[in-house]
Amino acid sequence: VLLAGGKLPSVFVVGAGLVVAAPAGLPPRTTRLMSRSALLAAGATRAALADAGWREGLEDVGFFMGVGASTADLEALVPAIAQAASGGSFLDACPPLHTFQLLPSFTLSHAAILEGIGGPTGVFYGDAVVALAEAIQSILDGDCSRALAGAADSALHPLAERVASPSEGAAILALSASPQGARATVALEAIPRGAFIIPPVAGALVSGPALAWCAALRALAEHPVVAVPASGGVAVFRRAP
């Protein structure tokens, strides 16, 4: 539909951040609260902002992410579970910081707090493509003129290792309503009924589509149009004018 008619709305990719390992250089006082997914997200967000050259006015930048289950710190619950199973004092063993580490939304929140990103927001379990669609829609609706969209996840925890290859990573695109500095235009194909499939059990797969988006940007050097299919739809990247 997009290629034939070119009628679908699109926005411009002006930067990208990609990390496959937890970054260094983040404030220790903050990172002690962060799950591994949040660390990855923070690194990719910082890289995307630098790549786009966005330094000011970040309180109006939208931020939309697909996230996994953020279970990297489940082992921290083991002492509490042991207490609960044995009838002991659960509270004494309950990790006080578990809320910050286990909440999937904190994968985004920590990065927003570190960088001062305060625009419209959305966090979606297992679905990077919905995050991209909502970022585009937020720009088209005028809620913001710039937005970040991407995903982060870690599959290095006990649950994900059973269902996916051990891996982790995060990728964030910087999207703008303005073509200035654009590397590509991106449009999400209108989501047809039935195009969605239920996300896989392994939340670790979430970051896959977002990582592919970064590869698509590179592929645009050789191809004018690159489509990246994923469970939630199809993102179509075109070489910027």
């Binding site: 903050t30 609260l33 970040l58 309180e59 996230v67 289950a69 953020s70 279970t71 489940l74 619950l77 509490a80 579970i81 609960a84 199973a85 004092s89 659960f90 509270l91 309950c94 990790p95 006080p96 578990h98 809320t99 910050f100 286990l102 909440l103 999937p104 939304s105 985004l108 929140s109 920590h110 927003a112 707090i113 960088e115 001062g116 990103i117 305060g118 419209p120 927001t121 959305g122 966090v123 979606f124 379990y125 297992g126 679905d127 909502e134 829609q137 809620d143 006990p158 649950l159 290792e161 059973r162 209108a190 989501i191 009924r193 039935g194 969605f196 239920i198 996300p199 059990v201 939630g232």
Partner: protein, 388 residues
């Protein structure tokens, strides 16, 4: 103006099962905060909560609560096989990604058996269960924006309708943290009131000292008004506007000046093309910092005098479900002209100088209402409902 309307609503709350059980209880000014019965609170500083009574739970409360609310909403909207084919799902889900009950069951005496099938507890479990139960075949979108998720799920549904991506969406939120992990974690953070009393949560009161944890669900059927009219279904309300923002402040506290939260409210009002509403159903958790920040946000975004109340004193903080259940509470204001009261608000905090509705519900001609939700980690959401 948005063409997305609510044609069905289902609620499971600490008052019981059913939308009208919930609304009638609010209209009567009841409170459901009571001693926790589900587990021993010995050693816990928190001993009261808003528990859903008399519900047979299979294994996971979130799934059960979501299913009960979804079935009621689906039936109220008089949906049939054609709707099943078309309906998508936008659901807010619980804060925990894994369930304590599962983890304890997988304890083998030395460590957790991570290979146990019982641990297959993805966040989308309740969403998939609702889609399967109702036979929905559209997209499934799971919101995980902490305590703002319920409101954002409803907003997302309205957005999908408005931009033509869907014609009918089942949306809402379900959550329960009334278990040792939830209560223990929040207690270690010092969020709940330390008082083991029915008035543990006193939003906007000078003596407020924390929240009460609650559980429940609210699910709505949202569809295009033309579609509802063609089916002969009378809408309950219009989802007229919505907005979101991020505090970008601290992981542990709301931004005290309310500036970011005010941005979400302004976006919702702008989308609804309104400058003022007749009533604000506030997030109003009863925490000293949270209520003050919210008052600041309301004053900034809505300078005109407006009646404000919070239902969290009556049912507790339903976490990911809070925004959805509070949108359901707004149906009392729009449908019956009755503003829910703020249970246990006896001594209004002078710093919260808004037109606060006290414990007794207030009669008012209400054409537009605003519901606010502010999530842990700085996620802000606002939804405007109007008469259909």
């Amino acid at each position: 103006v948005s063409r997305a309307v609510i044609t069905g609503a289902g609620v499971v709350s600490p008052f019981g099962v059913g939308l009208w059980v919930f609304l009638d209880s609010l209209a009567a000014g009841r409170s459901a905060i009571a001693p926790i019965t589900r587990f021993s609170t010995e050693g816990f500083p928190t001993k009261v909560a808003g528990e859903v009574p008399t519900v047979d739970v299979d294994r996971d409360r979130k799934v059960t609560l979501a299913l009960l609310a979804a079935r009621e909403a689906w039936a109220m909207a008089r949906c049939g096989p054609d709707d099943e084919e078309q309906a998508g799902l936008s659901l807010a889900l619980g804060l925990e990604q894994a369930y304590l009950e599962d983890l304890v069951a997988s304890w083998d005496g030395h460590t957790v058996d991570w290979t146990s099938r019982e641990l297959r507890s993805p966040v989308d479990r309740a969403g998939r269960a609702v889609a399967r139960d109702l036979g929905l075949r559209g997209p499934v979108i799971i919101h995980v924006e902490a305590c703002a998720a319920g409101a954002l799920a409803v907003a997302h549904a309205a957005s999908l309708i408005e931009r033509g991506a869907a014609s009918i969406v089942v949306c809402g939120g379900a959550d329960s943290m009334v278990n040792p992990l939830g209560v223990g974690g929040f207690s270690r953070l010092g969020a709940p009131s330390p008082r083991a009393a029915p008035d543990a949560c006193r939003p906007f009161d000078r003596r407020r000292d924390g929240l009460a944890i609650g559980e429940g669900a609210a699910v709505f059927v949202v569809e295009h008004e033309d579609r509802a009219r063609a089916r002969g279904v009378r809408p309950l309300a219009r989802v007229a506007g919505w907005g979101a923002s991020q505090d970008a402040y601290r992981a542990t506290a709301p931004r005290p000046d309310g500036v970011a939260a005010a941005r979400a409210i302004r976006r919702a009002l702008a989308r609804a093309r309104l400058e003022r509403v007749d009533y604000v159903n506030a997030h109003g958790t009863g925490t000293p910092l949270g209520d003050l920040a919210e008052c600041q946000a309301i004053r900034l975004a809505h300078p005109a005098p407006v009646a404000v109340s919070s239902i969290k004193g009556a049912i507790g903080h339903l976490m990911a479900a809070a925004g959805a259940v509070e949108i359901a509470a707004c149906l009392l204001a729009l449908g019956e002209g009755l503003l829910p009261g703020t249970a246990h608000l006896e001594e209004p905090d002078p710093a919260c100088d808004l037109d606060l509705v006290g414990p007794t519900p207030r009669r008012a001609d209400t054409r537009a209402v605003l519901s606010t939700s502010f999530g842990f980690g700085g996620q802000n959401a606002a939804v405007v409902l109007t008469q259909p």
